[in-house]
């Protein structure tokens, strides 16, 4: 829960930083990432910021070059690769 909230907080910060708007009412697990308001640059900023905050980037740790489609899947990936779990 703490991790999910941290990601959500940084996600909203990045939206503001990149002059983007949340295109859904609420950032819930089933929200499709590419329809949520962040473009690919926004996601790069999000992942870079999360790496600064959490000290890991799961996308460099995973074997496949797949990307989560929903916010819930995005959070799950961070949980799965969390070195402190």
């Amino acid at each position: 829960m703490i991790l999910k909230n941290k990601i959500k907080e940084i996600y909203l910060d990045v939206l503001e930083q990149t002059n983007s708007k949340l295109l859904v009412e609420e950032l819930t697990a089933d929200v499709v990432l590419l329809q949520s308001g962040l473009d690919s640059l926004g996601f790069a900023i999000l992942v870079a910021t999360l790496e600064d905050e959490l000290d890991y980037d799961p996308f460099t740790m995973m074997e496949d070059a797949v990307y989560p489609s929903t916010f819930g899947e995005f959070v799950e990936i961070y949980k799965r690769f969390n070195p402190n779990k």
Partner: protein, 181 residues
């Protein structure tokens, strides 16, 4: 994270077909000026001609051993110090990759290749790509038919590197490994 930018002229046959398959997908074709399906023969012959072409360079982007897109530098004019560029990625690819590759290629063109003015064309209806280019500092200088013509100077790019999110992107680029082959 390890990204390889492999010049089309150095691709093996399988890689040449892989990049053609990506280029021929509907999603990519509809945003291109020549949006017809390209045949394998025409594609292979075109790559052969690139070997003699000093004004255009095409790189396949390889990430985790798979070709996932292409980035290209066109109309290279070393006298005027100008060129244009573009990119395409297959669907469902990590969107971080396109931002990192964009940063890398803009910086390579404007610094390593010593180009002073970099241009691009984006279809007016491709809002996502247009906003993406704006975020990197490109500005509209003209329109032709259904296309915005955008540019950025080396001076502006260096200034833009001070924007917080570009700095963050630069930091991320500095942490990853990449090479041009």
């Amino acid at each position: 994270m390890n990204i390889i930018f492999k010049n089309f002229i150095n691709l093996n046959n399988e890689e040449k077909i892989n990049i053609l398959d990506i280029r021929n997908t509907d999603k990519i074709r509809i945003n291109m000026k020549s949006n017809h399906i390209i045949s394998t023969n025409i594609h292979i012959n075109w790559i052969e001609k690139l070997k003699e072409d000093k004004n255009n360079i095409y790189y396949a982007i390889i990430y985790k051993d798979k070709i996932c897109g292409a980035i290209y530098i066109n109309d290279i004019n070393l006298e005027d110090k100008t060129s244009s560029w573009g990119l395409y990625f297959k669907q469902d690819i990590n969107p971080i990759l396109s931002s990192l590759c964009t940063y890398i290629i803009i910086d390579k063109i404007l610094n390593e290749m010593n180009i002073q003015r970099l241009t691009l064309e984006v279809e007016k209806t491709n809002i996502q790509a247009y906003k993406f280019d704006l975020s990197f500092g490109f500005e509209i200088y003209d329109t032709i038919n259904n296309y915005f013509l955008m540019d950025i100077t080396k001076q502006k790019w260096e200034k833009n590197k001070n924007i917080a999110y570009i700095k963050l992107l630069e930091k991320k680029v500095n942490k990853i490994q990449y090479k041009f082959v």
